[in-house]
Symmetry: C2
């Protein structure tokens, strides 16, 4: 509700993700068409936005908050396969049912488009199709980056990798200076981190404690993280010092 109030405009002018979302390259005419088929929806932290296997009636963009894509096996093992940040796109044009659960990790606002009209619009609007291709290629890179983390990194390196991704994202959003300590709040519970990293929550907790003990990070409370030396963290993550992470 409080969240919704921040974004209850009905046009795209003041949209905080206007320049990064699937509509980034649209001209005024195209935006107007999009406005005709769009609507906003809010979700509370913990809510499931889309269930795996559901009919998908809409596609859309995350406007604010963080959502996650997860897969679950019959016996309950779950793996997060994507982290959706503001401007990221949800849904696949040309597919009927959702392949993954989409969950709101924090409170989330989405800009939704009715699926059928969006597909039509995409076919007639190269700007949208082209931008969606770019974004999908970026996501594919991120997924492959993550395969290395899941397949080959140690628990400590996995935690360091996740922290450096979150830190980097925060830095890129707030345009902060490269040097000096980086400070942010973890948007994920220990359990969500474990599901992302292919670990148990106990191991996540232990490794965070270890990184704290070794002064790679410091914590106030459970979630507020300070990184005194980003290069040190990236070293712990096993990446070459200004490596290829793109998120």
């Amino acid at each position: 509700m409080t969240v919704k109030a921040q974004f209850d405009h009905t046009n795209c002018d003041g949209c905080p993700i206007r320049h990064r979302a699937v509509c980034a390259h649209c001209d005024t005419d195209e935006l107007e068409e999009l406005e005709g088929i769009k609507y906003y929806r809010s979700f509370e932290a913990g809510q499931t936005i889309i269930w795996s296997g559901d009919q998908m009636s809409f596609v859309g963009s995350v406007v604010s908050g963080i959502a996650s894509l997860t897969q679950t096996m019959e016996d309950g093992r779950t793996q997060m396969v994507g982290l959706l940040l503001p401007s990221d796109f949800v849904g696949r044009p040309g597919r009927e049912t959702a392949p993954y659960d989409v969950q709101a990790t924090t409170d989330v606002v989405m800009c939704c488009f009715r699926k059928k009209p969006f597909e039509d619009l995409m076919n007639s609007t190269p700007h949208i199709a082209h931008r969606l291709l770019q974004m999908t290629l970026d996501e594919l890179d991120a997924a492959r980056e993550w395969m290395l983390v899941l397949g080959r990194k140690t628990a400590r390196e996995k935690i360091a990798s996740l922290l450096s991704i979150i830190a980097r994202r925060d830095a890129s959003v707030s345009q902060k200076v490269q040097s000096g300590p980086i400070v942010f709040d973890l948007p994920l519970t220990r359990e969500a981190m474990a599901d992302y990293l292919g670990l148990t929550l106990e191991t996540v907790s232990r490794q965070i404690s270890a990184l704290k003990r070794d002064s790679v990070i410091s914590l106030e409370g459970k979630r507020h993280v300070t990184i005194p030396d980003m290069a040190r963290l990236m070293d712990e993550a096993g990446d070459d010092s200004d490596g290829g992470f793109l998120i």
Copy 2:
């Protein structure tokens, strides 16, 4: 050489991947334009097709054989992040340098397009851009499917998952009957399997021996695999019996 001989035609009519590759939806005019910028290249098993970090002068499609995308950490740990089968696309329009090593796992023939002209053509040809989007979305699904394998499955389940993917692909290519035993040759060494699965080659070997001992598979030589009961294998892989694997 013998491989090259199979595909030394210069037009697309007899192309074995014509209907599945990036050019699948092209009409005659568009194909003619593509023919103008294309050329074939052959690679021997083990050869590196593209080095990570290299300038990419071309993009293209795998015509025959199998190639792999791999990432390597400084200390030598490597993770395969994609398996490129005939019709799969290599390269990213709009990017200068290659993010991964591309290696020929078997002898490979590629249909290459000079990068710049291809990019231009893509901007003027919705058929190509649209097909590339479809293919990229499929690859993203495959990558995410694989994240579950890497993050949450046991060694035995990983092996079973890989075997069932290869079996499925073979079945889809040769249009074989669903029931009855499935037979194929493993296109990967134990080491390549290990790199794909985030395991060591010793563990791969042990788990294959275990699956053989338990009659889930049988082997002639090291590479020739028979799967008497596909449902059983999928069960070992931890997938729901006709699960979501798409490759």
